[in-house]
């Protein structure tokens, strides 16, 4: 598996991504387009601030009462005829899904977009068990054909241009006439997928929001494929994280509104699915069984941590990713994680532990762009920075897996030396004098800095000396 892993592998992936100049140009244009759409959909800063304060409050309220809301949700769902399953980790979640499929005798699955199933590696698990899975979302379908993981949580194939998609389609749909035109490609995928919908024994989907009050699964999408995968096959299995619950139905519109505006710049998506149960006796269509798998996978632990619980407010809009200056340079695969970009740098180290995911926090300049656009006001840069501290200098009671494990003796020693000088005025003055006096001997090479940039030169006189004359000594 492609674990975020050590710094070297992250650096290696980053280097590889940086080397692909034509891909990067396409990608830049695609990202600029997404940013422009979001900007057009949320043009007024004050208005955005108000909307996001409301959305953040709704999410915070729900998280503050998470256990209670989950209990309510379970009761309501069961009353509606939706069967609820709890999974502690990825393995358990996949086992539950497989078991449900086996019991129904299902051999083929059509799947709507779900990042949580990426998190559990569901497609691989199904494949190993001999169940055929086809992704129904166009973007997901493209990356599935390419044998790649999604590179973005909302737009999984954003890194591919239409020529690449056309080549993929040609290789996989040889009986169809080749086209490079976007409409033609979409039509082609639709035709292929339609047949799959009709044949599938089961549909698997993600969930955007769970409404405790009504026991409703809410799913937004633009292509109608989600609607088909959740209603055409006789069995529908939804899988999602436990944090997606909100209390009331009337809290949904403000969240949906910000989710779609932040993600794609749309005031609303083409389809908003409210799934409130299986086919009733007098209904002609819909699945006969609906199941919901609620996945923990570290979320309860994150929820219990007062410092990082806000992470779970995330509604997976991808806006932080779209506005990240690092992501726009390298794309999602360079992160090597399920969730890329700022939310990935925040979530993955908590989910996987700092040893496995901590290096992701280094793929961030703390520029703050993500924090500015997050529709639920997660203080992403502050929390990412806090994670760095947890890696090298953890809280005494830090519940984060592998807290403190990223502390390296050499680096720690350098910082201690730095503090020993910079915290003592006399030593610092001595250093300044030394550096300025020996400036002509200053090295022209300074490791990683001068691999790309010329070395800075110490000044002939540091500011303290003229500063003392111009200002007043004290």
């Amino acid at each position: 598996m492609n674990v975020p892993g050590s710094m070297t592998t992250l650096r290696a992936r980053v280097r590889e991504a940086l080397g692909k100049a034509p891909v990067r140009r396409n990608f830049r244009a695609a990202m600029d387009g997404i940013r422009a759409k979001r900007a057009a959909a949320l043009p007024d800063a004050t208005d955005f601030a108000q909307r996001r304060a409301r959305a953040a409050a709704i999410r915070a309220r729900a998280l503050a009462r998470l256990p209670e809301l989950l209990e309510r949700l379970e009761q309501r769902l069961e009353a509606n005829g939706i069967q609820v399953h709890w999974a502690e980790d990825a393995t358990q979640a996949n086992a539950i899904v497989l078991d449900l499929l086996h019991r129904a005798g299902a051999r083929s699955v059509i799947k709507g977009k779900s990042m949580v199933s990426e998190e559990t590696g569901l497609n691989d698990a199904l494949g190993e068990a001999g169940v055929a899975v086809v992704e129904s979302d166009l973007g997901e379908y493209i990356v599935q054909l390419a044998g790649e993981p999604p590179s973005h949580i909302v737009a999984p194939a954003i890194h591919k241009n239409r020529h690449e998609v056309a080549a993929l389609f040609q290789a996989h749909h040889p009986q169809r006439e080749a086209t490079e035109d976007i409409e033609g490609l979409t039509a082609e995928a639709r035709q292929v997928l339609r047949r799959r919908f009709a044949q599938a024994d089961a549909g698997i989907s993600g969930v955007n929001f769970l409404v405790a009050e009504t026991g409703t699964l809410v799913l937004v999408e633009n292509e109608g494929n989600g609607r088909l995968s959740t209603s055409a096959p006789p069995l529908h299995i939804a899988i999602t994280g436990i944090e997606k619950v909100i209390e009331r139905l009337d809290e949904l519109p403000p969240l949906l509104d910000l989710l779609t505006r932040s993600a794609t710049g749309q005031p609303i998506t083409t389809y908003v699915n409210f799934i409130s149960g299986p086919r009733r006796a007098d209904e002609l269509d819909g699945p006969r069984e609906v199941h919901l798998v609620l996945l923990d996978n570290g979320r309860a632990r994150i929820h219990a941590d007062p410092l990082f619980a806000d992470t779970l407010r995330c509604i997976r809009c991808g806006s932080c990713i779209n506005h990240c200056p690092v992501y726009v340079q390298v794309g999602g695969h360079a992160y090597g994680s399920v969730y890329p970009g700022p939310i990935g740098a925040l979530l993955e180290p908590q989910r996987l532990g700092l040893e496995a995911g901590g290096s992701l926090t280094s793929a961030c300049t703390l520029c703050g762009a993500c924090g500015d656009v997050c529709p639920v006001a997660i203080p992403l840069p502050g929390l990412i920075n806090q994670l760095r501290a947890e890696g090298v200098e953890p809280r005494p009671d830090s519940p984060l897996p592998d807290a403190g494990r990223l502390r390296h003796r050499g680096e720690a020693l350098l910082w201690r030396l730095w503090a020993t000088i910079y915290a003592h005025p006399h030593r610092y003055r001595w250093l300044a004098r030394l550096l300025t006096a020996l400036r002509r001997l200053a090295p022209r090479r300074l490791g990683a800095w001068t691999r790309w940039r010329e070395a800075p030169r110490p000044a002939a006189r540091d500011l303290h000396r003229p500063g003392a004359r111009s200002g007043v000594l004290r």
Binding site: R11, V14, R15, L18, P325, V326, V328, Q329, S362, C364, T365, L366, C367, G368, A369, G371, D372, N385, R388, A389, E390, V392, E393, L406, E411, W415, R416, W418, A419, I421, Y422, A423, H424, P425, R429, A432, L435, A448, W449, T450, R451, W452, R453, E454, A455, P456, R457, P458, A459, R461, D462, L463, H464, P466, G467, S470, G471, V472, L473, R474
Partner: protein
Amino acid sequence: MTKETHEIYVFGTCLIDLLRPEAGMAALRLLERAGFRPLFPQAQSCCGQPAFNSGYRHEARAVARAQLAAFARELPVVVPSASCAGMIRNHWPALFAGEPEEAQARALAARTFELCEFLDRAGLVLQDRGESVRVALHHSCSARRETRTTASAERLLEQLSGVECLAPAHAEECCGFGGTFAIKQDALSAAMADSKCDAVLATSAERLLSQDAGCLLHLQGRLAQRGDTLPVQHIAEFLWERIA
């Protein structure tokens, strides 16, 4: 107002101190021109940000604590760097949470200002004496998001009749400096610098300015390595040069 009330502190920042003292001098002169009496405590060194952003909070606190002592009087602290001003203003209170110096850190945070912001608020009037020139102002992320002081810098530049200010593409985007990021993710940092440099060079700007010495150091170093000759300057230096 008495002369005493016109006294202010200047926090020069470690980068400016050792690498760009002329920017610090220009800041001192601009403040004097605005009618203040800048004090430069000799015991100052660094705001602690490099260690803070690397996770070494203990070390960051030790260094920040020394500054608390150096800027003890109840005077405004003016910083010719948005990132250091932002560090003091936004992060010191949390850095000292639960420590004996917490109240002191909060008080200092509340009286800390970025240079352009301070000059702008003080109503400094700039009489342009320079030749006409086109410049690009690089908005550092800390000026844009930590201290929210880019508008102040722009207002100061607008006063200069001979200066035309151009906005490069993707002006809102980080230049890739990010302190130790520039070393830990050096290739990525350079790629970001290249995007920034290309965008600036694509304008017809004759000079690149910024409110942050860190970004300038990084961009200047990258431009030089690429063989581009665009001059790079701290905004304080530029402003002083125009009116001196």
